[in-house]
């Protein structure tokens, strides 16, 4: 238990101590070696790197240098990442064996380890984080502390205004004032649908009931999405603080964080954070000397995608099979165990303290008219910079893909971007300049979703892509309602037919009919949005569907069943390279003879195609 004065003291002392983390000109003799401990870097041996640094420093009797584990820096493709502060030197793809050299060259000799410096897309070496194009257009609010603080140390969170918003709210503001402030900020739910957060709080507050609950939805399940994980791993206290603020506003005394068991690091750090907060009296009874009591428990999910749907999540917390309830009633009216319950997503919570500290006007000055603030995206797929980015709402897809993402690798062309995961849709190149916000994404047939953003180059088949997402939904449907349980399966079967060259135009018609009716008749968001990937690909790439259905052709060569790989005799010079690379000896011909592909043996792997120096091999 710490008194308010003690907490203020810790905050002040730590802030001075950690100034070097955010200030390259910090007045200090210390250096901090920050080692990313997000899931990606951790699996690439960052804990070993951390240990090596510590061991070597000890062996060499070097003081004034501390090695800190942090959350995700964002540029996961370059991991494991090591950053040295205050000079902000960015070392990429560090291995445990590099530690010795970094200590010797950088720490002892004061020179940079050139070969480990991060390179930008154009090959230029960058000295610091800020010089990277990847970071230039980003604005970090939700990720503010990620990569800056040690997430397992509450003092470091306190140093950067941690729990100051909660203190202000509890000691200086009424519940209505806080809700009004959140409403004014324009913050909307980051879980996908974008419901105004303040409004949700207001509704839950207005619901009658002695017992209310606050829930954090950390059941991030979209393929390729890891923003919630990164926040929980990098800055867990920001979520706890916001939950406490929300609880104060709606009149709850108990909170649950529903997080997937597949996020072991996030779970561990959350538990550490909860324990530390309890230890300091920031969670528990009479928080900050007020009569406000609040406690948080973690509930582990078993990984069902549908449990990210708020009512299915509630069912799961209550110990039942994770499947949705029919709404209305909404959780604000009847949620956990029938009590009014506020459910917000991790990223939504991560914005709350910042909004309170910096004011609603500051927040609403960022973003577009109806979508305020920033949004975290996981940039993946055929893009150079894969990682976690946070951009102001209204940033265009082009800026994200080309400026931040560094464009498409291998000189290929952009074909489409998929946002919103299995619930979202495809955005083709004609909409590259659409400013990203809730409304405009919806308008062009996609959705914000939880922030997955997968870029596809021109070698991708859109029918296969739709099939991929439907495979996901079919295996993740809970099976409760008919349209989702059987309908998505039928859609998948039709897509499989099309990809196997067994489809017809009628199948496209059936696909659309199913899609529309599943959207309208399913119980929950999973079913209602499951057809989106099909509807949007049909909208923008209908011709490709028709090619599959009528001409039985997949130009992207992804649908192997339809491919017929042949050698163009005019272009073939008889070099035999294709033959050398063919894994199944399907290519016939000797010496300088023109080569012929034996269709019966060919497995359509495409190896010959990529190895032909004369572009003589193709589909058709």
């Amino acid at each position: 238990m710490k008194s308010l004065e003690e907490l203020h003291k810790i905050r002040e002392m730590k802030r001075k101590e950690l100034d070097l983390r955010v200030n390259t000109k910090a007045d200090t003799r210390e250096k901090h070696i920050l080692v990313c401990h997000g899931t990606g870097c951790t699996s690439s041996k960052s804990p070993e790197i951390l240990e090596n640094f510590r061991r070597i420093l000890k062996e060499k009797n070097i003081e004034n240098v501390r090695v800190i584990k942090t959350g995700c820096f964002g540029l996961c493709a370059k991991g494991p990442i090591v950053i040295i502060r205050p000079e902000d030197t960015f070392y990429a793809m560090v291995t445990p064996e590099d530690c010795e050299e970094i200590i010797q060259t950088h720490i002892i000799e004061g020179n940079k380890v050139e070969r480990l410096l991060c390179k930008d897309i154009d090959g230029t070496k960058v000295n610091s984080l800020d010089e990277l194009n990847f970071y230039k257009k980003q604005k970090r609010i939700a990720l503010k502390n990620c990569g800056v603080i040690n997430p397992e140390n509450i003092d470091e969170y306190l140093a950067f205004n941690g729990y100051q918003a909660l203190e202000r709210v509890l000691r200086e503001m009424t519940r209505d004032e806080v809700i009004e402030l959140i409403k004014k900020s324009g913050l909307r739910g980051r879980g996908g649908a974008g419901f105004p957060t303040g409004k949700k709080w207001e509704l839950t507050k207005a619901s009658e009931g002695e017992q209310k609950y606050v829930v954090c939805n950390a059941d991030e399940g979209d393929p390729g999405a890891f923003m919630d994980r990164s926040i929980l791993e990098g800055d867990p206290h920001s979520v706890l603080e916001a939950m406490a603020i929300a609880a104060y506003c709606i009149g709850a005394n108990k909170g649950y964080i529903y997080v997937r068991a597949e996020y072991p690091i996030a779970v561990k750090r959350l538990q550490i954070a909860i324990d530390q907060a309890k230890d300091y009296g920031i969670l528990g009874n009479n928080i900050f000397g007020t009569d406000f009591n609040f406690d948080i428990e973690i509930r582990l999910g078993a990984g069902a995608f549908v449990c990210g749907e708020e009512t299915a999540l509630l069912e799961s917390i209550e110990g039942r099979r994770g499947q949705p309830r029919v709404k209305p009633p909404y959780p604000a009216q009847s949620g956990l165990w029938g009590k009014p319950t506020l459910i917000n997503n991790v990223e939504t919570y991560a914005n709350i303290a910042q909004i309170i500290l910096n004011g609603p006007d500051w927040y609403s000055s960022i973003g577009t008219e109806n979508s305020k603030g920033t949004k975290v995206f996981e940039l993946g797929g055929n893009v150079n910079n894969i990682g976690l980015v946070e951009v102001p709402m209204g940033t265009t897809l082009r800026e994200i893909v080309y400026d931040i993402g560094g464009g498409i690798p291998n000189g290929r062309k952009f074909k489409a971007a998929q946002t919103g995961g299995p619930s979202g849709g495809c955005i083709p190149k004609e909409h590259l300049d659409t400013p990203i916000d809730y409304e405009s994404l919806k308008e062009i047939g996609s959705m914000m979703g939880s922030g997955g953003l997968i870029v596809m180059d021109d070698t991708k088949c859109m029918v296969s892509l739709a099939k991929f997402y439907l495979e996901f939904t079919v295996s993740e449907s809970c099976g409760k309602c008919t349209p989702c349980r059987i309908g998505t399966k039928r859609m998948l079967e039709i897509l499989e037919k099309l990809c196997n060259g067994e489809g017809s135009e009628l199948d496209i018609y059936k696909l659309e009919k199913l899609a529309v009716n599943i959207q309208k008749a399913s119980i929950c968001g999973l079913g209602q949005s499951a057809p989106n990937p099909v509807i949007s690909t049909l909208k923008y790439f209908r011709e490709e569907f028709r090619e599959h259905a009528i001409a039985k052709e997949c130009k992207a060569l992804e649908c192997k069943a339809m491919a017929k790989i042949t050698v163009d005799a005019e272009k073939c010079k008889g070099c035999g390279l294709c033959q050398k690379h063919c894994p199944v000896n399907a290519i016939e011909g000797e010496g300088r003879e023109k080569r012929i592909i034996n269709q019966e043996k060919c497995i359509k792997c495409g190896t010959c195609l990529t190895n032909c120096p004369f572009h003589a091999i193709g589909n058709g």
Binding site: V326, P328, G479, R490
Partner: protein, 584 residues
């Protein structure tokens, strides 16, 4: 008052309904029949199947009419082109994963899915595809599960889990692979199922049905060397008519007897006579135990689903059970002893068929305790539904039959026995006899209204011979559980308890005619059938079991007195703790 009334418009009709009414119910009041499939009033109101979707002006997406309630000024459309198309697609999808073998399905003609297919004139399946495949589970002596016909409405799950609080079945797997199964996907025979059959009554299709055993009856009827005797339970006579289009609650005793005779049974007896024996034995057992304060409260033992339930769940409370066999078992035992001797027929040649409203009786009749001299008391149990099929297969026009009377020498029964078929009936019948025995008088008090009615638990205090006796009648296993918990925790201050496994008693048993969700939401089936039984009782000249002249005679000639050595040997039984799961 006014503020409790909501005015809304459904299909251009103004409707005024109570606040809290669902859109589906409101539509019903306006004469609009929105199709449903997973909906089963008060039991399964979950909105899973999506057939009942409607459009509500100003609302995004469809509303789920079976669970969403009306709001003032709401404008509902139940058959817009959008709704119709979605409903067609949903129905098509359900059918696409349903075994479409209607010709070889027991529920053909009484299948809610089939009825919808007819209503929507489904001529072909627009979205065919892979179908889930399930093994048929027919290892249980009572219930056959064919989940190739299951449409995952989960009405059976709700009946088992919520109404009966057994939870023998629930949904396993996810998505398209979802199916209703048991712990570890084992046979129903090897898990905590009590064989109550409420799941069958809840099923809209043929995914659940009783294990039919009428083939053997046909064979025996043909065999000149076998003396085939049939007995019918009280609840059968007030429900059998429904299978021939007669109104619910029609008493068809006379026609039923005629039909049974036409089917070729050598003798047609009444289980009600057995019920009178049960009362004699049970009332005397109660008096003895009451006076000795021995293992009170005493609990009735006529309901085999209930017996299996207590054996599996509360074995420590088994001493509270009456040791009486159920009426048809008592009667079967007497048929193979007293009747055989009297008529000079070798017991081995007597084949006893019980027509029961119950499928747990199929299990009960095969219990090893139900044997005497190596012979089962009852050889075959068929349900009300199975009897109706036999009658139909014998080309008998049931509704046109004349009435006949049960055969003698064992065809006389009292009004007390008739009400055995409804919750509270056994209690009432026992009280009629107990009060006369205790006072030694012929009391005028016959009706015990306190234990009548459809409530799940009915408590009453009855003063007999200056002593207050507290009694409870409970029906449905969820209510049974409450009573047992009271007994277990020492809170029970009553002396006599009647428990029936099925909510409402035997008239609502798992072997009775299956009523569609629509009928169940429009009429109180239990009340109609119960009223018919009480009416039989009212009209009976003898309304107390101990006054049944046949009983008197048989006790005089053969059994001596209630509770005698021979009575114990033939009419009483014992119970055993039972493992819930046999999962090897």
């Amino acid at each position: 008052m006014e503020e409790n009334i909501v005015t809304l418009t459904i299909d251009d009709q103004e409707v005024k309904v109570k606040k809290g009414t669902t859109i589906l119910q409101a539509a019903k009041q306006a004469g609009i029949d929105i199709p449903t499939l997973c909906f089963l009033k008060d039991i399964n109101e979950v909105g899973d199947c999506r057939m009942c979707i409607v459009e509500v002006e100003g609302r995004r997406g469809f509303a789920t009419s079976c669970i969403q309630t009306v709001e003032e000024g709401m404008v509902v459309h139940t058959h817009t082109p959008n709704v119709l198309e979605a409903r067609h697609v949903i129905l098509d999808l359900i059918i696409s994963n349903h075994a479409k073998d209607c010709l070889t399905c027991t529920r053909s003609g009484n299948c809610e899915l089939q009825a919808l297919a007819v209503k929507f004139n489904v001529l072909n399946v627009e979205f065919p595809g892979e179908m889930t495949k399930h093994k048929v589970d027919d290892l249980s002596p009572s219930i056959v599960r064919d989940f190739n016909k299951c449409i995952l409405c989960r009405r059976c799950v709700a009946a088992c889990k919520n109404v009966q609080q057994i939870g023998a079945i629930d949904c396993i797997n996810r998505g398209f692979e979802s199916c209703i199964s048991t712990v570890g996907d084992h046979s129903l025979n090897d898990v905590n199922c009590t064989n109550c059959g409420q799941c069958i009554e809840a099923c809209p299709t043929g995914a659940l049905h009783e294990k039919e055993t009428i083939d053997e009856v046909w064979v025996k009827l043909k065999d000149p060397d076998t003396h085939v005797v049939v007995q019918t339970a009280p609840a059968v006579r007030v429900a059998l008519g429904e299978e021939f289009g007669m109104p619910i609650g029609t008493n068809v005793t006379g026609k039923m007897v005629t039909a049974l005779k036409r089917l070729g049974f050598d003798k047609v007896f009444d289980t009600n006579t057995g019920a009178d024996f049960t009362i004699m034995e049970e009332a005397h057992e109660f008096i003895e135990r009451f006076q000795a304060n021995d293992n009170l409260p005493m609990i009735t033992s006529c309901s085999p689903g209930w017996i299996k339930y207590i054996e599996m769940n509360y074995p420590e409370l088994l001493p509270h059970l009456s040791s009486c066999k159920s009426p048809h078992q008592m009667f079967g035992a007497l048929l193979k002893t007293y009747y055989a001797k009297k008529e000079g027929i070798e017991p081995e040649k007597i084949y006893v068929v019980s027509v029961m409203p119950c499928i747990a009786k199929k299990f009960e009749s095969k219990r090893p305790e139900m044997k005497n001299n190596g012979l089962y008391d009852v050889d075959n149990v068929i349900t009300t539904r199975e009897l109706s099929r036999m009658i139909k297969q014998a080309n008998i026009e049931f509704t046109k039959l004349e009435d006949s009377k049960f055969d003698n020498p064992m065809g006389e029964a009292t009004g007390a026995a008739a009400i055995f078929g409804t919750t509270g009936g056994v209690m009432e019948a026992a009280l009629r006899t107990a009060q006369d025995v205790l006072t030694g008088e012929d009391l005028d008090r016959i009706n015990f209204e306190q234990v009548r009615g459809g409530e799940g638990i009915k408590r009453a205090t009855v003063n007999i011979a200056g002593k207050d006796i507290k009694v409870v009648a409970a029906s449905g296993l969820a209510n049974a559980r409450k009573i047992l918990e009271e007994i277990k925790s020492g809170k029970a201050d009553y002396q006599f308890v009647e428990i029936m496994a099925c909510p409402g008693g035997c008239i609502m048993g798992g072997g009775q005619p299956i009523k569609s969700s629509k009928i169940r939401s429009e009429v109180d089936v239990r009340k109609l059938r119960a009223d018919a039984l009480y009416s039989i009782d009212e009209k009976s000249t003898i309304r107390k079991s101990h006054e049944n002249p046949i009983l008197k005679k048989i006790y005089e000639e053969y059994l001596e007195k209630p509770g005698s050595y021979r009575a114990h040997k033939l009419l009483h039984t014992h119970y055993q703790a039972r493992e819930k799961y046999k999962l090897n």
